[in-house]
Point group: C2
Chain length 257, copies 2
């Protein structure tokens, strides 16, 4: 009775999978996942509707079931689909917001259509404190690069970014740091960042911060402290950031497993 909002089956538009390319370096499961996702965000598959089952899709596309399953799972992990055994796979209601990926503020701003600029406030080489040595897994007292930057969007200050990097990065290009995001600079050095652990909180802005961010004294700021690890598991960066809460927030999508 109260189930009246349920929507019936919605087959995929037949043309959706016409351009799958088996010879492409892009994996098949990824190509399929992309098309399912775009069918949802374009509302070709309405919210609440049930999608074609795995077996049928697999046969219709001439792709094995494990590959189809993997494609669907990608979309489930993004929070756009839900699956129930014996029932099927349905489209989640609600607006789609981009999930929190391993991106930097710099990337986020660009994606939002804004123009990010960076002012390098300070750059020092300092011995690792106990806390830093612990977080970066480097010897106590070893050289570390400390950066302090002010990030603005369309000329308005958005965040104060403090970063500490291990000795491998003492020679980072100062000019590049003014023009690109830290993550872009690290990537261009061949570092591939794989895992980030971060804690998000709030506190009053310090005197420094409120001046830089053009806030009143003691105004609230959103904070994030993150440690980033590369593809061999080594700590690459320790970031302590504070954001103007009226200009920035974090979007997170969680999926129950």
């Amino acid at each position: 009775m109260a189930e009246t909002t349920t929507v019936g089956d919605a087959p995929f538009p037949p043309e959706l999978f016409m351009d799958l390319d088996r010879s492409s370096p892009v994996p098949l499961y990824y190509q399929v996942a992309e098309r399912i996702e775009s069918a949802i965000t374009s509302h070709a598959l309405p919210a609440g509707s049930r999608i074609e089952n795995e077996i049928a899709l697999s046969e219709r596309l001439g792709i094995s079931r494990p590959t189809i399953r993997r494609a669907i799972q990608e979309v489930v992990d993004k929070g756009l689909l839900v699956r129930r055994r014996g029932i099927g796979t349905q489209v989640v209601q609600g607006q789609v917001t981009r999930g929190l990926e391993l991106t930097s503020l710099f990337d986020d701003l660009i994606r939002g259509g804004q123009v990010p600029t960076t002012e390098l406030l300070s750059r020092e080489t300092l011995p690792a404190s106990a806390a830093v040595a612990e977080a970066l897994a480097v010897p106590l007292g070893s050289d570390t690069l400390h950066l302090r930057r002010l990030r603005s969007a369309d000329g308005v200050p958005v965040a104060v970014l403090d970063n500490v990097l291990p000795a491998d990065y003492l020679d980072l290009d100062t000019a590049a740091l003014q023009n690109y995001g830290l993550y872009q600079v690290l990537r261009s050095r061949g570092t591939t960042m794989r895992v980030a652990r971060q804690r998000i909180g709030a506190r009053r802005a310090s005197a420094d911060e409120s001046e830089l961010l053009e806030l009143e004294d003691g105004a609230p700021v959103l904070t994030a402290s993150r440690t980033v690890f590369d593809d061999s598991g080594r700590a690459v960066e320790l970031g302590t950031h504070c954001y103007r809460p009226d200009l920035y927030s974090f979007d997170v999508t969680l999926v129950q497993k």
Copy 2:
């Protein structure tokens, strides 16, 4: 040269997989993932070390390679392992912090060894505003249940929780809401929550909030507004929460895919 912190191979302790149970309802891949994870958190596999490769593990345990792969992938998704083709799989450095799962503040506090209590400040049935109707995907003006609760840990107020639920939940048990978390109450009604989308930010506490949370006027609070969907994709709850930032923060682990 700068690679001196790399640690060599670390075989799994042979006894680690002795008690795998193929007849258990717990999936094999999950049993294996659990044991790998505990080997990491117990430091039996030191940070930076390389684990046994898939083929060897698969043969040694008499389990197919896809199943082993899935087990390892589970641990990778938690941010404890990183993989590189041609290289192997290595343990990520740094402390392990529990990731952000689809849990409630109530569950979080219990896990932290604290005693959560809930005071039901108000409970009203109100017609859905435009914003609520949009977020919950219910008709404009339809009945919705509005809750306002004060959550404390060990007697100290931690958060003010505002929740809006669709008409299906108008008859929620008031007594249960005083003694259990909202999510526990929903689960006991047979609702299984699958996806949550939330935005985390910061702002000044309102007069109400600062009084309830025993803060000064205008003190900063950490805010989260989330929409939760059940296993059929329907919106279950719209939450607007504000936390005392000295007592609570969000931990998030991100993995680059």
